[in-house]
Amino acid sequence: MTSLAVARNVLRRILRDGRTLALIIILPLFFVLIYGNSFSGSYSDLTIVIVNADNGLASVRTQEVGRITLTVDLAAAFVSALDPDVFDIVILDDADEAFSMVGTEAWAALAFPKSFSNAVVSQAIRSSGERKVQFEGSSVTLLPSEIDAGPPTRLVIDDSNPLVASAVIAAFNDAFTAVLETQQSSVTVESLLNVQRLYEGKIRMLDFTAPGIIGFAMTLITVMLTAMAVVRERTGGTLTRILIAPISAWEVTMGYTLAFSLIALFQAAELFLVSLWLFDIRFVGDPGAVILVIVLFAVGLQGIATLMSTVAKNEAQAMQFVLFLLIPSIMLSGVFWPLETMPATMRAISYAIPLTYANSALRKIMLTGQGLGALTFELSVLGAIAVVTLLLSVISMRRQAYTA
């Protein structure tokens, strides 16, 4: 069987090259570990703001002793019923300030009015009828009082991420239900909350994932193209020829960057236009800001690709190295499920991936129309990645001349 000879030869050549062998062993492991750890489905560290003006008192009529005041502290009970693993709770005094944080610093803000406890108790008595409680050592019968619902509890929620929004509402429901059950009442959550969605539920799952998918497509194409081109330039010997000419590694790198940035911009335009045209994805922000994000993002990707091409002996290896960026990019950068669902270790990886920042910036622009002022963090990180990887790729270009 000559097929066996061919097979043996292929295997021998792969096994001989330590780097290829390592890649073959590590890649599947890497893939599974990332997938398994990132796809937990439960949320953590969702920041919410709570303003608790509830005085905790309920004033009720009784059959025996007239009107009495009970201390029930229902809002406080609700806050402590919230899962501390899921939420990072910020307590504020000013409701307006709290609501203004939604969409930027917090996913949701909830403001309990002064009469919250009172309203819940009177509703509970009205809906479940008379009942007896212990008051100052004797049993009293509570009577339904006049309708006094008071102002509703306002909940403002950022629904730019439909997944997080529904997770937050579900968690609030659970907490309310838990508190109300101890009151043995049939009061519903809906009747207590006045829910206001920041984007009125207009952001579809498609809109929500589109910026990340476009960013991922760019990562895929730019990194592959750049890494391949640099490896080819080196293995073909032309890089040596370039680097021995009176042109600095810096100029060579800038030339590459210019060319691939143009390609990246063209591809981005294609991705955006087709998505808008065919799928009518949400795009309410400034296209100029998108271009800025795309350029910084693309330059960083090229820098990373050039660095990968330095360690790759050939095109096949370059491809495999590229996967080490692509796999975490799709799974850990928040494209499908938010960073808040990932364990802290995985999130650390997320923060090392350019797509995390590009995705966050593009979402802010496209979904919520935020301007450059709101993108300072993302733009700074993308800019820093671009500058650092560019500098490193200049060094690596210089080095490649010696290894060519």
Binding site: G236, G237, T238, L243, I244, A404
Partner: protein, 245 residues
């Protein structure tokens, strides 16, 4: 020798694993010389050229080109290098290759055209200059590579087997051209396995196992080995080299 030494190498050593590709090699070449590098396969000719050009860092020793310690960016515009493998863009035409490398040397469009005319005439590819290099034969590709290396009129050129796979007629005209360049004070270091080529050099260095076994004018080497042609001389030298003294 009165002329300035444009190449100076002192105690170059480059080790790969256990094998020394260059083993304490020293060499000086004066301006305007046509220096032939001979020696068996694996002798270290390519390694020497790459080290002199600053493309490899020697483990020991140092090299100066045109008075600059290598690797140096100062000599680049005056340095020509033709690698042993083709190192051309196969997906571009001959002219596109020449234009690109010409731009790297800041040649103006007209200069590139003028130089291209001269060199394409030399390598006999004028009528194919619009063709993609990828469609060329091996010898033709090497001719493109030579044209690229000499495009910017280097003062000092290292040509690694410029005639390998090139037919005899063209080979002869290449060497006529090299001699003419040397007459214009261009310094050339050319590796070769061909005796008739070595014979056309001002000086021949015979490398073996990373050492410069001997160096001299072709007729001096003949006298040294007591042979009447360089072919025999090289074989004698190689056999001497293989016997540890």
């Amino acid at each position: 020798m009165t002329a300035e030494h444009v190449i100076r190498a002192q105690g170059l050593r480059k080790v790969y694993g256990k094998r020394a590709a260059l083993d304490g090699l020293s060499l000086s070449v004066a301006q305007g010389q046509l220096y032939g590098l001979a020696g068996p396969n694996g002798a270290g000719k390519t390694t020497l050229i790459r080290t002199l050009c600053g493309l490899l860092r020697p483990d020991e020793g140092e090299a100066t080109l045109l008075g600059w310690k290598m690797p140096s960016t100062r000599v680049r515009s005056q340095l020509g290098y033709m690698p042993q493998d083709f190192a051309v863009y196969n997906d571009l035409s001959v002219m596109q290759n020449l234009e690109f490398f010409g731009q790297l040397y800041s040649l103006r469009r007209a200069q590139v055209r003028e130089r291209a005319d001269e060199l394409l005439d030399l390598v006999q590819l004028t009528d194919r200059k619009r063709d993609r290099v990828g469609t060329f034969s091996g010898g033709m590709r090497r001719r493109v590579s030579l044209a690229i290396s000499l495009l910017h009129k280097p003062r000092l050129a290292f040509l690694d087997e410029p005639t390998a796979g090139v037919d005899p007629k063209l080979r002869r005209s290449f060497w006529d051209y090299f001699n003419a360049l040397a007459d214009q004070d261009v310094t050339l270091v050319v590796t070769t396995h061909l005796v008739e080529e070595a014979q056309r050099c001002h000086l021949v260095g015979f490398l073996m196992a990373g050492k410069l076994l001997t160096q001299g004018k072709p007729e001096e080497i003949l006298a040294q080995t007591g042979t009447d042609n360089l072919d025999d001389a090289f074989i004698v030298l190689q056999e001497r080299g293989e016997v540890p003294s």
